[in-house]
Every structure is written in structure tokens, then in C-alpha cells.
């Protein structure tokens, strides 16, 4: 690893020079020395430094704390404070800028070294963590499913863009704090009612929900969190609308096929009865001796056809059932006669 580069902000010329010599002795590269906050910010625009050593009490409009805050937001370079004396108020102000270290003057060479190394390490770790977070976010947003993480008090800890879109939330860049699960076509209701089981008992739940014209398979997956008594819940919306539509189409086609079959059935029964009727007629016209036997046999066949008829009536029941339960607008016949009485009949 190449030696780290350090930028110094110190208005005391001798102290600054002393600091530079010590740093160079320790193997660092000193990229510059600024005597005020303003000139520090200007120099940092043109030179690339790994870390900044900042005296809190410096001359100029900005003190070290103000400058550190700017360095942090503008350049994302870690800052270590240097000071001989600090009061409580200043310390409180300094904390807010999240410094990477604190060195009291007069400084000790070894202390200086270790604080700088710790600061650099901490900064590298943080960069890596935020890089990891970016990667996870990219992955989370790459999947089409909407996902979010809820804590045991049912607040949203994290969610991907797809979920933000589904919930109708405006994507925001962190810092907003956890939000309550907003309603989404009433789906949140069905999620909330089941959450307890996952939070408390760590059960994975899967169920289907309709949202407008879309269908989702919703999964509630327990995730171990910091609280040993409660699970966090990963909520996943998997869009199954296409699958549902296909299923619906198959059902409709199935019904059409059944209707077709029943129609065939009906025609066939009618056609069987016609020759039966003819035989019966001819026998009655022109057969005396065997008439009774033939009529008995015809009776048997008629019974069989009646059984088929019964099957057809049963199919009618099946059809009604199918239509009622699988079609949007069941075309059921009226349950009771609805006769107003004017149209037909003989006068």
C-alpha cells in the first residue's frame, strides 16, 4: 500500500512545521498546510489527500469544526481534530461532525501515528460498508419482486424500488427513519393480520392476494434481528397475474368443453329415443304375439337412456357450479319462475 497522504490545517506556523516533520518521519506524505478553513477547502479541491489533521482553534471566519463539517460533506475525507484545550460546548459541536480521531497537544509521536492509522482504517471500513450497501441495494432493485423488511413493531426498515413503487411512496435517500406500512389495495390489512405468526413464531407464510386486476403471491419470511424474542419479517410480493390469467383461461375453456360435451349428450339421447319411439309404434301397430316382450325391452332401454339423462341433469349441476365459482358473471337461470303473464298463451 502506498504511504497515506495527510493534509494539515493549522494556523500556528511552527506547530504546523513540527507536525509536517513528524508525519514525514512516520512515513506519510504531507500534501499541504492551510492556515485557515477557507484556504483548506480550496486546497483540498485540487489535491487528493487521505486524511486531514485539523486544529479546532484556527483563525478566520470558520473554526476547525465548521471546516471539518464542510470537508466531510464536500470531500468525504476523514478528519482528525488537534487541540490543546477544549471546552464541553466545543466538544459537543465536534462530536456532531463524527471525527475519526482526537489528538491533544502537545502530541506524542506514537499517539499521532496510531490515531491516524485508526482513522484511515475506520474510513476504509466505512467505505467498504457503504459499498456493500450499494451492492445489496443494486441486487434488491434488480429483482422484479417488491420486497421490504419490517421490524417487530411493523415498521418498514428497508424496501426496494419495486416495493416503493407498489406502495406509492416517493423514493427517498435514507435518513427518513422507519415508516409505518402504508395501505396498498387493502393488502397491508391481510399482511398485518398474519405478521404476528412470523414475528413471534418465525413461521414462513405464503398466500395469494388480489390488488385491482393484479394478483400477488405474498411471502412473509422470518429474519433474525437484534431482538432475540422477535423476528423481523421480509415481505415479498411476487406478481402472479399472468399465471392467474392463464389459469382463468384454462378454466373458461374447460367450461366451454363441458358445455359442448353436454350438448352432444343431449342430442344423442334425443336421437336414441326416436328409433325407440318408432319401434314402439310399429310393434303396437302390427305385432300381437311378442308385443309385451318387446315393450318390456324398450322399457329397459328407455330406463338406460333416462339414466344418461340423469347424468346430463347432474352435468347441468356441475356446469352451474363451475359457472358460479369460476366465471366472473355467472349466467344462471332464474331460481324461481318470473312470469308477468302477458306475452304468450291463448286468448
Amino acid at each position: 500500500m502506498p504511504p497515506a497522504s495527510v493534509f494539515i490545517v493549522e494556523d500556528e506556523l511552527i506547530e504546523a512545521e513540527d507536525l509536517r516533520q513528524t508525519l514525514e518521519k512516520l512515513g506519510y506524505i504531507v500534501t499541504g498546510i492551510a492556515r485557515s478553513g477557507e484556504s483548506a477547502l480550496e486546497s483540498l479541491n485540487t489535491t487528493r489527500s487521505d486524511i486531514v489533521l485539523m486544529d479546532i482553534h484556527i483563525a478566520g471566519r470558520m473554526d476547525g469544526i465548521d471546516t471539518a463539517r464542510r470537508v466531510r460533506t464536500l470531500h468525504k475525507i476523514p478528519v482528525i481534530f488537534l487541540t490543546a484545550y477544549v471546552d464541553e460546548t466545543t466538544l459537543e459541536r465536534a462530536k456532531v461532525t463524527e471525527p475519526y480521531g482526537y489528538i491533544l497537544k502537545p502530541f506524542d509521536e506514537r499517539e499521532l501515528h496510531s490515531v491516524i492509522e485508526m482513522g484511515l482504517y475506520k474510513h476504509r471500513m466505512e467505505e467498504q460498508a457503504s459499498e456493500n450497501e450499494r451492492t445489496i441495494r443494486v441486487l434488491a432493485n434488480a429483482i422484479p419482486d417488491a420486497v421490504m423488511l419490517l421490524d417487530h413493531s411493523r415498521q418498514v426498515l428497508a424496501l426496494n424500488n419495486a416495493m416503493e413503487y407498489r406502495l406509492g411512496r416517493i423514493p427517498s435517500e435514507g435518513g427518513e427513519g422507519p415508516a409505518h406500512l402504508p395501505d396498498h389495495y387493502g393488502i397491508s390489512e391481510s399482511i398485518l393480520s398474519r405478521l404476528e405468526e412470523t414475528i413471534r413464531y418465525g413461521r414462513t407464510l405464503r398466500f395469494e392476494e388480489q390488488a385491482g386486476t393484479d394478483w400477488y403471491e405474498i411471502s412473509l419470511i422470518p429474519i433474525t434481528g437484534p431482538d432475540p424474542d422477535h423476528f423481523r419479517v421480509l415481505v415479498q410480493y411476487h406478481d402472479i397475474s399472468d399465471y392467474k390469467r392463464l389459469e382463468e383461461q384454462l378454466k373458461t375453456e374447460g367450461i366451454t368443453q363441458i358445455e359442448h360435451n353436454m350438448e352432444q349428450f343431449q342430442i344423442l339421447n334425443d336421437q336414441i329415443r326416436n328409433p325407440l319411439q318408432a319401434i314402439m309404434g310399429y310393434v303396437n301397430l302390427d305385432c300381437v304375439y311378442y308385443r309385451q316382450h318387446i315393450m318390456e325391452q324398450i322399457g329397459l332401454i328407455d330406463n338406460l337412456v333416462s339414466c344418461l339423462d340423469h347424468g346430463w341433469v347432474e352435468s347441468e349441476k356441475v356446469r352451474k357450479f363451475l359457472l358460479r365459482h369460476y366465471r366472473d358473471n355467472p349466467d344462471e337461470g332464474p331460481e324461481t319462475p318470473s312470469v308477468t303473464g302477458h306475452g304468450g298463451g291463448r286468448g
Binding site: R273, N274, G281, D309, E335, P337, G345, R346
Partner: protein, 200 residues
């Protein structure tokens, strides 16, 4: 002599029906379909039409509708004689327009033997109805009465004949029967019209 028109696409049925009707002293005409039936009605008005249901291209119900719109023969009584099982929706729609719904196979001899009495009852109703109209009774109420009388009779006959059919227990005629009874009293029709016996 009474004339009965047989509408059936099966030539054997037409032949035997004609034979039995003739033997029973009834003048018989037979045609093979709905279109032929309507054509015939332009020139002749039978006393009764025996109508099959499953026919092509014009089925029995369609033929019935056309008959009821016929300028000359619109009032001819129609009896369904078919191998098709009755369907609830059809009965509710057409029950008020027909004398009866009879399932094949039938015993022609018995059936034909019953016909004179049926025709007599039809004429009886027709006659009383004409009298009522002449006496100034509201024709709309009469038409409603006639329609309900047919619907209730056809349905009760079917329920009796097709006891094992699932739709039979789903049909509720209560309202129609009540309305029929009140019209019967209101219009003063003879009680014999509310008594019907098994046919076919």
C-alpha cells in the same frame, strides 16, 4: 273431425303418429320441420300441433315463438313431444305457451286415446275465454290467467313425471299459483280448469 299437425324430423315417427292418429279418428298432417310447419299454417289451421324440440335448422322452441307470432295461426295450441329432457329455463320461458311437455317414448295408442278429451278441454277454455271477453272482462287479465294456467299445469305435470330431476325441487311456483288462484276467483272461471289429469 279434429286435425292434428305433427312436426318431427324423424320420418318413422311421422309415419306412425299419422297412422295412430288416423286410427283414433283424428285427421293427421305431418311435416319435417319448423319452416314447413309455419308454411303449412298459412293455409291450414290445425286444432293442435305436436312439436318436437331437437330439429335443424329451426328447433322446436324457435318454431313455437314463430307460431305465436303467426298472423293467422298464432293461437293454435301446441304440445311438446320430445326425447329431450326438460330444462328449467326453457320451461319457465315457454311453459305458459304450451299445453303440455311430453317425453318420448310414448305409447301412441294411449296418447291418441287421450287426445279427444284434451282437445275438448282446450275448446272449453277457449269458449269460456271468448265469453269472458265478450262480457267485457279485461283482456290483459284474461291473457295473464291463461298464461299462468298453462305454466302451472305444465310445470306440475313435469314435476310429477320427472321426480328424480334435480331442478324439480328448485322450482317454486308458489307465487304463480297464488296469482293464478286470485285471478281465477276474480275473473270467475269454472273450477274445472284448475283440475288436470295425467296425459301421455
Amino acid at each position: 273431425m279434429d286435425t292434428v299437425l305433427v312436426v318431427d324430423d324423424d320420418p318413422a315417427i311421422r309415419e306412425i303418429f299419422t297412422a295412430f292418429l288416423t286410427m283414433g279418428g283424428i285427421s293427421a298432417i305431418a311435416v319435417s320441420g319448423g319452416r314447413e310447419c309455419l308454411d303449412l299454417l298459412s293455409t291450414r289451421t290445425p286444432d293442435l300441433i305436436l312439436l318436437d324440440l331437437m330439429m335443424e335448422p329451426m328447433d322446436g322452441w324457435e318454431t313455437l315463438r314463430e307460431i305465436r307470432h303467426h298472423p293467422v295461426a298464432g293461437q293454435v295450441p301446441v304440445m311438446i313431444v320430445t326425447g329431450k329432457q326438460p330444462v328449467l329455463a326453457d320451461i319457465l320461458q315457454y311453459g305458459g305457451m304450451i299445453e303440455d311437455f311430453i317425453g318420448k317414448p310414448i305409447e301412441f295408442g294411449k296418447f291418441v286415446a287421450c287426445l279427444p278429451r284434451t282437445l275438448e278441454q282446450i275448446r272449453d277454455l277457449h269458449q269460456i275465454t271468448a265469453q269472458k271477453k265478450e262480457a267485457g272482462t279485461d283482456p290483459a287479465l284474461i291473457a295473464e290467467y291463461i298464461h299462468l294456467l298453462h305454466l302451472v299445469r305444465v310445470t306440475q305435470n313435469l314435476i310429477r313425471r320427472y321426480k328424480d330431476n334435480s331442478w324439480a325441487d328448485r322450482i317454486s311456483l308458489k307465487k304463480q299459483e297464488e296469482r293464478l288462484a286470485s285471478l281465477h276467483t276474480l275473473l270467475g272461471f269454472p273450477d274445472r280448469f284448475l283440475i288436470w289429469d295425467e296425459r301421455g
